[in-house]
Symmetry: C2
Subunit: 276 residues, 2 copies
C-alpha cells in the first residue's frame, strides 16, 4: 500500500495535503486530500467530507473555508474523490466519473471499478488512519449534494463507526428523483428492491432512531431543491420520536460552496460536540 | 454605463455578485466581482483586491475565505479582473491576458486596450461606487503577487484615495525581476526611465514616508520568493524613519490561496483600523 504526496500547503498552522495512490478496490489510481490541524499532544478525531456531482477532492479543499475551524477544533478532515478515474465513464456529467453515488455497482460496465462504498469503508480508512498522527479513533461524516447523500447513507449503514452525520443540500431520497434514478438504474439495475440498501430515506426507515445525530442544511434558493433535494420523504421516514435529526432551511442560500463556507463552522461545531 | 449581474450568491448574510460590463477605457467586455456585507444603517468602506498572474476575479471570490471577516467588519470588497479580455494576448502565461501589471501600456500591440491603471482609478471606481449602498467614501487596497504589486503601486500613487495598503507575496520591485522586466519591456518599451512610474520600490523612494500604512505578508516556502518577490530593495527604499511599513515573513507558507486564506483575517483587521 503505497501513497505519494503530490501537493502540500501550510494552512492555518496545519497542513493541506493531496495524495495519489493505486486503489486495489477500485482498480485505478486515485487521489484524495487530507487536512491535518497543527500538531498537539491531544488525540485528534477525523471528519470525512464527500463532495457532489462533478467534483474532485479539490473543491472542498479550495472553496470550503473549513481549515480555520478544523485547526481551532483540532480535527482532521479527509476528502476522497467522487468516483474511480480513468475507467468506465459516460458522456453525461451526472453519470460515471464524478458521479459514483458512493455505492457498490452491480451492473456492467460499472461493476469492475465502481465499488466506492467498499473503498470508503475499507481500503481508504486503513490508509488514512496510517497517515494521522495521534488519531483518537473517533470519526464522523459530512458532505454536499450527492456527497450529502453519501454521508447520510454511509453514516446510517455504519452506526458504530460514525459519531455524527451532516449534509448540505443532500439528495436525501435518490430512488425518487431524476439524478438518483438515472444513477441507480445504471449502477444497480432496474430492480428497485436492490436500491433500498443505498437510499438514505429507506435506510432511515430501517434503523428507526438507532442512528448518529444528523444535521442537514438546505438553502431555499438552491436551483436543485424542489426536484432533486426535496426533504419531505426523508423527514417523513424519521420516527415521530426521533429527536436526533435537525433540518435547517436557510433563506436565500443556493447550491454553491458559498453556502458551505457560510455554515461550515456550525457543522464542525455540531460534529465536534459528538467527537469528544 | 450599463452593468449586468451574471452571478449572485448569498454568503455570510451578504452577497457575492459577479458583474459584466463594457469598458470604455479598455475597449472590451470585462467582468468584476463585488462582496456586499449584510446591510446595516452604518456607512460601509470599500477594499480593493487585485489578483496575481493568470487569475480572474473568481480566484479570490472562491478561495480567499474573506467573506466571514468582511461581513463581520461591515466592509465591501471589489475584485477586478487582472487584464483586458478578448483583445491582444501572447502565448505566454506571464504576458498579456491575466498579466496586465495594472499599468497603462504605451507600446503596440498593447496600448489600445491595456490601460488598466486608468480603468482601476477612473472608470471602475465610478461604476462600483454606484453599486454600493451607503458607501462611507473610505477605501483601501490589497492584492497578491502581481496584484500585491498593483496594490502597492496604485496605493503609493494615490495617497489621498487609499487609507491602507497591504500585499501577499508582492512583486515589490518589478524592474529588477524576470516577470516584471518581461512585462515592462513589452508594455512600456526598453527605456527603463519610463518604468519608474510603475514600480513600487521606485515610487516609495519618491514619496518617502508620505504614504498610507503598508502591511506585507510573505511565506518562506513560496517557490517564487527568491527570484521574483525579494523584498530587500523595497525595504531598503523605505526611509529609515518609516514606521508605517510592516513586513511579515511567515514560516512554511507558500504562494497559494491557502496562505491568503490563513492571513486574510489579519489583513482585514489592519485595513479596518484605518478605514473607520
Amino acid at each position: 500500500m503505497t501513497v505519494e504526496i503530490i501537493e502540500k500547503h501550510q494552512s492555518f498552522g496545519g497542513q493541506q495535503i493531496k495524495y495519489r495512490h493505486d486503489s486495489a478496490t477500485l482498480k485505478c489510481e486515485m487521489t484524495f486530500s487530507l487536512f491535518l490541524p497543527p500538531e498537539t499532544k491531544t488525540a485528534m478525531p477525523l471528519i470525512w467530507w464527500l463532495s457532489g456531482l462533478t467534483c474532485t477532492d479539490d473543491n472542498f479543499s479550495q472553496k470550503g473555508a473549513f481549515q480555520a475551524y478544523a485547526a481551532k477544533n483540532h480535527v482532521a478532515f479527509v476528502m476522497p474523490d467522487t468516483s474511480p478515474r480513468g475507467v468506465a465513464d459516460s458522456d453525461d456529467w451526472d453519470l460515471g466519473q464524478g458521479a459514483s453515488f458512493y455505492l457498490n455497482a452491480t451492473q456492467e460496465p460499472w461493476q469492475a471499478n465502481y465499488q466506492m462504498y467498499d473503498y470508503l469503508t475499507q481500503e481508504l480508512p486503513a490508509l488514512v488512519y496510517s497517515l494521522l498522527p495521534n488519531f483518537s479513533g473517533k470519526e464522523s461524516i459530512m458532505g454536499h449534494s450527492m456527497g450529502g447523500h453519501g454521508a447520510l447513507m454511509i453514516g446510517l449503514k455504519n452506526p458504530q463507526r460514525f459519531s455524527a452525520i451532516s449534509a448540505f443540500a443532500p439528495i436525501s431520497n435518490p430512488s425518487q428523483v431524476p439524478w438518483g434514478q438515472k444513477a441507480f438504474t445504471a449502477y444497480l439495475g432496474t430492480s428497485v428492491n436492490t436500491w433500498r440498501a443505498w437510499d438514505a430515506t429507506e435506510l432511515l426507515k430501517e434503523v428507526g432512531t438507532k442512528h448518529a445525530p444528523i444535521l442537514i442544511t438546505q438553502g431555499t434558493d438552491d436551483n436543485f431543491y424542489q426536484v432533486q433535494l426535496n426533504e419531505q420523504a426523508f423527514l417523513a421516514a424519521a420516527a415521530a420520536s426521533d429527536k436526533a435529526i435537525s433540518y435547517r432551511k436557510e433563506i436565500g442560500y443556493d447550491h454553491s460552496y458559498y453556502t458551505i463556507a457560510t455554515f461550515i463552522e456550525e457543522h464542525i461545531a455540531f460534529h465536534i460536540s459528538y467527537l469528544k
